[in-house]
């Protein structure tokens, strides 16, 4: 990077901010100076138009266009081939199966561990430090997490000393080192661990908060009835945090369905590890199969849709109760 490069970049940022400030400043200036007649209308336009234009160009039009592209050949003729490919080609089917495995495992396991951890540390000494430790991976990018875990899974052939922790453990117990990232289907599960590692902290923070909301009286009453810890947990705590559990599960499910960076960084979808979001990128931007990529994007949308609708309903009900 030369000084000129740096200057160019700095100039871009300054110009970008200047344009933003100028547009907003001018808009609001003219809104306030608008003729009395129809001033309300112009004020509304001034405040709303920039965001709505961005949304129309960036999301509304593209979403419609992608939906159409999914049903077209590269020549622009209408076809169902893209979907036929998705549901018949072995690699594409594998992608769908992998996505299902991801979405079954990640939300359940991270919620389970997060919940257990939240219960274990509840009102213990140093609770906040315990929380920080588990929550920290959330701040780390998926790319960073991918590198961290690739290092754990690193393989060294033959008698060379292992530098990856997992293979070191395997060899310490007398096993043969494994090429983890190349071993199907183990590799998919190892990638899933990375996502679980990231999402557990999120589950833990939300569930921990919910647990603190369970009334003490209920727990004490159960205690007086002579229940043990496990019974109290299942019969008092879990029903008490049901709402939070649903939100955590659905939220992580949505994030998992869209997982891209982890797969991209760790295997790039090779060795039968691809998932929908990664395959969408590969097809549309690497293989120039825009139709197939669009079909996969549409499938992703349709998979996310019911979870999101369900999530909204749960949240709305919680609001009404409040």
């Amino acid at each position: 990077m030369t000084t000129a490069d740096l200057l160019g970049k700095l100039l871009q940022v300054v110009m970008g901010l200047a344009v933003l400030a100028a547009v907003v400043g001018l808009l609001i200036f003219f809104i306030d100076k608008a003729p009395k007649k129809g001033r309300d209308y112009w004020q509304l336009v001034g405040f709303l138009a920039p965001a709505l234009i961005f949304l129309a160009i960036g999301l509304v039009y593209p979403a419609i266009r992608t939906s159409l592209l999914a049903f077209q050949t590269s020549g622009g003729e209408w076809t169902l081939d893209n979907f036929v490919w998705t549901f018949t080609q072995p690699t594409a089917i594998r992608t769908l199966i992998n996505t299902v495995i991801w979405v079954l495992l990640v939300p359940t396991v991270s919620t389970a561990i997060g919940l257990a951890y939240a219960v274990f540390i509840d009102r213990s000494r140093g609770e906040k430090y315990y929380k920080v430790i588990l929550f920290m991976p959330i701040a780390i990018s998926f790319v960073g997490a991918g590198i961290i875990w690739r290092f754990v899974y690193e393989y060294r052939s033959g008698d060379r000393e292992q530098i990856g922790l997992l293979n070191a453990i395997v060899t310490a117990f007398g096993g043969e080192p494994v090429q983890f990232m190349q071993t199907d289907p183990l590799n998919t599960f190892l990638l899933i661990i990375v996502m679980i590692w990231i999402q557990t902290g999120f589950a833990m923070v939300l569930l921990s908060a919910a647990i603190k909301g369970v009334p003490t009286e209920q727990i004490e009453a159960a205690q007086l009835d002579g229940t043990n810890g496990w019974q109290r947990f299942i019969n008092v705590t879990v029903p008490g945090i049901r709402g939070a559990l649903v939100v955590v599960l659905t939220t992580i499910s949505i994030a998992t369905l869209k997982v891209f960076d982890i797969v991209r960084t760790m295997t790039a979808g090779n060795f039968n590890t691809s998932v929908i979001a990664n395959e969408m990128y590969t097809q549309a931007f690497r293989a120039s199969e825009v139709g197939r990529g669009s079909a996969l994007a549409l499938i992703l949308f349709l998979l996310v849709l019911p979870i999101v609708v369900y999530n909204i309903n749960v949240l709305r009900k919680q609001r009404e109760i409040r």
Binding site: M1, A255, D261, A277, Y281, L300
Partner: protein, 333 residues
């Protein structure tokens, strides 16, 4: 993008989750603990189990950190847990990835600048536009406001993937000529500049941003706004003098969330940055390094640590805002 599970805290009137998030803003726990008279239910086994989980969760990052400070030769031949037998610490890896100008070095300096530039402007544009739109939805009465707001809200369910191909086409048709023109006028600005990445991030952030900020701005007592209007204040004045100052906490939470989101993003960068060191952010460079030099662990570990240090600093420094913003927007994308 999809639906936020929780909105930004709005004073007293908070939903269960948001309120809960607030209390767990990690730092606040201590205060409430003394007030609790509940008997501790945790047994010794539970503490041990928690300790094991905590250690398991830390080890991978810890190994990366240690390795990034070890001499290249040792990183390649010995495990980081043998640090005591194979003693040696060095800053060479960091010097190499940051300062070295040799062809083989990843030269991360330029990419760090890109990450900062992209995150900064990619946060500010949606923030400004969303605050304005949120104000309009909350305080300018117009026909169809409800329907329009629901439509904007609903856009959150459109996954990023749905927008990528057409948006790239739009950019190459309309934005590219402008970029080329700008390059002709100001030669030090490369033809491939930040504009597409900024705009893409801004567009994708808007539905969530408008929704969250609207929730907050709509909570401002109407007497305040009405009083200003009676005094003859224009919408512009109300916006700048009343709404912006009052909405600062919500704006800050969203800003932090969006900054981290953009900083950690890979997908948008891959598609809109072009991949050169003129524009590509750190994440993209690192992903590329994994692909082409997956064995150079001394560089990968140092590079990865540089890329996670900023979000971690934000995490530790602005924990309360961070948790709040993160919980609010955790399903974005």
């Amino acid at each position: 993008m999809s639906i936020a599970p929780a909105d930004l805290p709005t004073g007293k009137d908070r939903g269960s989750i948001e309120g809960a998030a607030e209390t767990t803003a990690l730092t606040e726990v201590v205060g409430t603990k003394s007030a609790r008279v509940k008997k501790r239910l945790t047994s010794r086994t539970a503490t041990v189990a928690a300790l094991i989980i905590a250690v398991l969760w830390t080890i991978p990052t810890f190994g990366l950190l240690i390795s990034s400070f070890r001499p290249a030769e040792l990183v390649r031949t010995t495990g980081w847990w043998t640090i005591f037998e194979n003693w040696g610490f060095t800053l060479d890896n960091y010097k190499d990835v940051l300062l070295s100008t040799s062809q083989s070095s990843p030269q991360l300096g330029a990419y760090i600048v890109n990450s900062i530039a992209i995150s900064l402007v990619g946060t500010l544009i949606p923030l400004v536009l969303a605050t304005m739109a949120a104000y309009a939805f909350a305080w300018i009465k117009f026909k169809g406001a409800g329907v329009l707001f629901i439509l904007v809200f609903a856009l959150q369910i459109v996954p990023l993937q749905m927008a990528l191909v057409p948006l790239l086409q739009i950019f190459s048709t309309w934005l590219r000529p402008m970029q080329a023109w700008l390059h002709d006028v100001v030669p030090i600005i490369p033809e491939q500049n930040y504009a597409p990445v900024w705009l893409a991030h801004a567009m994708f952030a808007l539905p969530l941003a408008i929704f969250l900020l609207h929730n907050f701005i709509a909570e401002i007592p109407s007497e305040v706004i009405e009083a200003a209007r009676v005094d003859g204040a224009t919408h512009g004045q109300i916006f700048f003098r009343i709404v912006l100052p009052l909405a600062t906490p919500a704006i800050a939470s969203f800003a932090i969330f969006q900054f981290i989101w953009v900083w950690n993003d890979l997908l948008v960068a891959l598609i809109f940055s072009g991949g050169t060191q003129d524009v590509a952010p750190l994440t993209q460079r690192l992903a590329e390094m994994v692909g082409s030099r997956g064995q150079e662990w001394e560089r990968l570990t140092a590079g990865a640590f540089i890329s996670i240090i900023i979000p971690l600093a934000v995490f530790f420094g602005l924990q309360r805002y961070f948790v709040r913003g993160l919980l609010a927007g955790s399903t974005k994308g």
